[in-house]
Symmetry: C2
Subunit: 451 residues, 2 copies
């Protein structure tokens, strides 16, 4: 590439997977991109463009002449083409659509009607499809004529006159059976289908659970519209996991399709700042609680020592509970009827964790604290190690039990009001239990130590 | 099931996917499990057992007689069988191995030699394999004889006399070509393979990136040992995402294969308590820092108001940075040479976020704070709103810049010393920046306000 040797480059590119060329292209500068696109040509780029992040699609297509654009769009599979056209400007979309052959244009327009994150928006319509009245010979001839346009023939779907999905056969059943065998004799029922309007996550979970290579997408009349392929399912699983992880860290907005280092710093700033600033406002409430216990802290300065710990432990255990519950919801493990069981389980866990940490801190107060020279009698104001330890332990038990319960409750409540459970996880819960932690800690100390 | 009607049950079960039966079985009590296993028989259970969580495998197999166990093990695919036998007690493993036919036993033993989380441990050896000297007719006959034992024939691998992987053909290439076509004429090169000893995550990332249905697993001499199938890749992707998410919330240890509600509370306790208690110890250091600034707080009590906010904002932004970096590492986006670029990017982001939050808080100090009646002159000790706002803003900028940089640095450093980057994410970083936050906040206030 450095040497601008187009022939050598084409030779290397032929051995590379389009996904690798796309990654390389993303990292190049303007002039290098121009050179790469002109030397590799439309055949290679028709495979590369669908692998590019959505922000680069239009600028890359625009490097080619109209005739070349038409060639690239023609070579692309229908689902990739619909995805690409959803990511370009309105003006460019109309222009590209007009370059397509009439039937391709119709298919593309119909695919674009489904949202990008629905099963319909992800499906491909280029599938192996045979009629229920055919025999094996007829089916093989039917498939032979369409084979080069078809993404996968591992499962071939059987439809009737109305296009209703009747069943499926495997390619091996065709290859290994006599030519006069009827399709109806070797066809199997298709137990799982998904509606075109369903969320893509539902489709990918079904495919993962049932180990499906292809999931047929149907409309409400059970007419076969297309299929979701295993490679789309893998992509959806990765996208949804990334989305959950990001939301759980208070990162909002759409995830970028660009790799981390290629994503603009300002875009990252826009995704991270809203939660950061909102949670900071909430943290001022914690500060206000703290100012209210100023007198208590002056009377018994040793209370400072445990305050960050009680608060942080609540945030950590609440965050752990939220993580477990959010992930269980994502994997479809928590039904509508098991909310009580989840809450009971987490409350019990919070109590156990509180007992464990409370006992640890009680031991710290009576064994370690007396040995530390930096805390003199002025910090204790006449309170004994046992009394202090007891007060700290009780505060920890109350804080961890409530924080853990809250950590489980919030995602479930978010789901009930149709919010994404991941959004209320870790940072949000930490901010809330910061406030409750301060109140619990100082009130307990005040009551138990008689201050 | 309630009615103990075995016939009706078998009929229903035939329509259910084994994964659904496994979920049902997991939720049953002892007596119901006994009834289900005896009425559905070995044929159904040979599909159900591989879908069960590993803790239930031995107890379920033990419900059957020795002859039945032998039948179940015989019906199971080789990779599932090896996985199952890795999850039972040593005594049971020897007993089950002795029930296998000699060649099955050999295959199973060789698969068990690879770690459960390696490519070799995940692969199946039941693949379509033809010799490079064959023609299409010979290949079809070869495959016909093994077809019922083979998980997938969508890709058929071509080997030479030594078993070296030479290429692949698609089943459709066999079905749609003349019988006297030589395999060498229609075979394609296989560009991607994985070593049997490689981590399963490497295999699944490769399959997802290159949209592969099957990934050939080879040894160092490039001999074909088996393949990883797309359904295993989906399972690995889900497992690895769950593992990352859990580690990032300070949950340690192996994830349970059981669903959330079926996992024992004590097991959850064991996974959550170690980090909770370690981080609580670290939080005591924060408390110690706080006790050192006792005099400052007494002189200027309004500083209490902002302390939790400065600390929490550092934790949140550090956590966000760590999340982005850990996820980018997981998806293979950060190479060994881009560490500097990552750090530069996050430092810049920390500075921007610090400026945004710092300005917000400065505005709060000069506009909102004077309007709040609960903070009287006694809290301010002669310090003006502008001076206070300036000190708070500077502390925020310093804290957010260092916290964000630390959030990016820690996962990268962890990887460099072969630790899992996810393990040092959110809670760990929050605990560290709690300490730095206290120091930064109080030192800045002390210096700028001249106290």
């Amino acid at each position: 590439l450095e040497a601008r040797d187009a022939d050598a480059l084409s030779e290397v590119a032929e051995k590379l997977h389009p996904a690798d060329i796309a990654l390389l292209y993303e990292d190049l500068n303007e002039e290098e991109r121009e050179f790469l696109s002109s030397s590799l040509g439309t055949k290679t780029f028709s495979d590369v463009i669908p692998e590019l992040p959505d922000t680069l699609i239009e600028e890359t297509l625009e490097r080619f002449t109209t005739a070349e654009q038409s060639d690239i769009l023609d070579r692309t599979s229908d689902d990739d083409r619909a995805d690409m056209l959803q990511d370009v400007s309105d003006e460019a979309r109309q222009r590209y659509l007009s370059l397509l052959e009439p039937d391709d244009e119709e298919v593309t327009r119909s695919l674009m009607r489904y949202g990008e994150e629905t099963a319909g928006g992800r499906m491909t319509t280029q599938i192996g499809r045979v009629h229920i009245d055919m025999n094996v010979k007829q089916a093989i001839e039917e498939l032979r004529s369409i084979q080069e346009d078809t993404k996968t023939l591992s499962r071939i779907f059987v439809v009737n006159d109305q296009g209703t999905l009747m069943g499926k056969v495997r390619l091996r059943d065709l290859a290994f059976n006599k030519w006069d065998t009827m399709i109806t004799d070797i066809m199997e029922e298709e137990a799982h289908t998904v509606l075109a309007t369903a969320d893509q996550e539902e489709a990918s979970q079904m495919m993962s659970k049932y180990d499906m290579l292809l999931l047929p997408v149907v409309n409400e009349q059970n007419h076969l519209l297309g299929v979701i392929t295993f490679d789309d399912a893998m992509e959806i699983l990765e996208e949804e996991s990334t989305e959950d992880i990001e939301k759980m860290s208070g990162i909002s907005g759409e995830q970028s399709e660009e790799s981390y280092l290629n994503t603009a710093t300002m875009l990252q700033f826009k995704r991270r700042s809203p939660w950061l600033i909102s949670l900071a406002m909430l943290a001022l409430v914690s500060g206000y609680v703290l100012t209210n216990f100023e007198a208590l802290l002056q009377a018994l300065p040793i209370l400072f020592l445990f305050q960050p710990m009680v608060v942080a432990a609540g945030g950590n255990t609440g965050g752990q509970a939220a993580t477990m519950v959010v992930r269980a919801i994502s994997l479809g493990e928590i039904g509508k009827n098991s909310k009580r069981a989840v809450l009971a389980k987490e409350t019990m866990l919070g109590l156990l964790l509180g007992l464990a940490l409370g006992l640890t801190m009680y031991a710290f107060c009576i064994i370690i604290l007396p040995m530390l020279p930096m805390f003199g009698p002025s910090e204790f104001n006449g309170i004994g190690y046992h009394e202090l330890g007891f007060a700290v332990a009780i505060a920890i038990i109350v804080q961890l039990t409530t924080a853990t319960t809250a950590g489980a409750l919030l995602p479930i409540a978010a789901r009930a009001i149709k919010l994404d459970p991941a959004i209320v996880a870790s940072p949000c819960i930490a901010a809330l239990v910061d406030i409750s932690g301060m109140l619990i800690y100082f009130s307990t100390a005040k009551a138990l130590l008689g201050l």
